[in-house]
């Protein structure tokens, strides 16, 4: 359960060549790569492990350190809040409003990863729709245009004022 116990794995520079080679092998989607055991036994990689390797290599080739964090299928409120990028009280609020299903283990609330992912996707969709609608309205009502014009007007006045200031500064010594 202690998620931070996993020490990151660092890629060293002299491994890059072989990592690139493995990356090429993993990108060949026609044939599933095989793992060859010490006694020559060949095992075809299952799809899930294949995905893990692809993602791992991607990050290693970008010079990032790797640590594997298992995600429990049952999350604590803390973990769920982290996954949604919100505070724990905000998450509890969502649970109490019935936005995300949960169940209790003793006195502790648990959220299923699947339910949380559904909520996360719905939230993203709601936001994207609202945003698209907002942009549509702003365009329709000419708000962007109006703001651009008033910004130009402001700049014009500012320039005019600056010019006046310059003239008076220049003029000063003659007074």
């Amino acid at each position: 359960m202690a998620l931070l116990e996993h020490e990151p794995v660092t890629t060293s520079d002299n491994e890059r060549a072989v990592l690139k080679k493995i990356d090429q092998v993993l990108k060949n989607e026609k044939r599933m790569p095989r793992l060859v055991g010490p006694d020559g036994e060949e095992i075809e990689l299952p799809g899930s492990l294949f995905q893990v390797l692809q993602r791992t290599i991607y990050h290693m080739l970008h010079g990032r350190d790797i640590s594997i964090v298992p995600i429990e299928r049952e999350l604590t409120t803390e973990q769920a809040a982290d996954l949604l990028n919100i505070s724990r009280p905000s998450l509890v609020n969502l649970l109490e409003k019935g936005e995300i299903p949960f169940h209790k283990v003793g006195t502790h609330r648990r959220i299923s990863l699947a339910d949380l992912m559904i909520y996360k996707a719905q939230r993203a969709e709601r936001r994207a729709l609202a945003l698209a609608e907002m942009v549509r309205l702003s365009e329709e009502m000419g708000l962007y245009e109006e703001e651009r014009r008033s910004a130009e007007e402001f700049n014009r006045k500012q320039r005019a004022r600056d010019e006046v200031t310059h003239v008076s500064e220049d003029a000063e010594p003659y007074e």
Partner: protein, 63 residues
């Protein structure tokens, strides 16, 4: 790395170009947007004054 957070106050939520740009950036998870009901009410109030009632609910999905 903790998420980058920013409180957007009414002054940047009122102008359409600024608001829509900032919210698009938040939508792409460049930073995490935060505001309070009070801020949103202030925005709604001013949008209504301007006669733009349609926009007043825009930020709600982000709360």
């Amino acid at each position: 790395m903790p998420p980058l957070r920013a409180v957007l106050d009414a002054c940047v939520l009122f102008p359409a170009s600024l608001r829509d740009t900032l919210l698009c950036a938040a939508d792409h998870e460049i930073y995490q947007v935060q505001f309070t009901n009070e801020i949103l009410e202030e925005v709604s109030r001013n949008l209504l004054k301007k006669g733009i009632s349609e926009c007043s609910n825009i930020c709600k999905p982000y709360l």
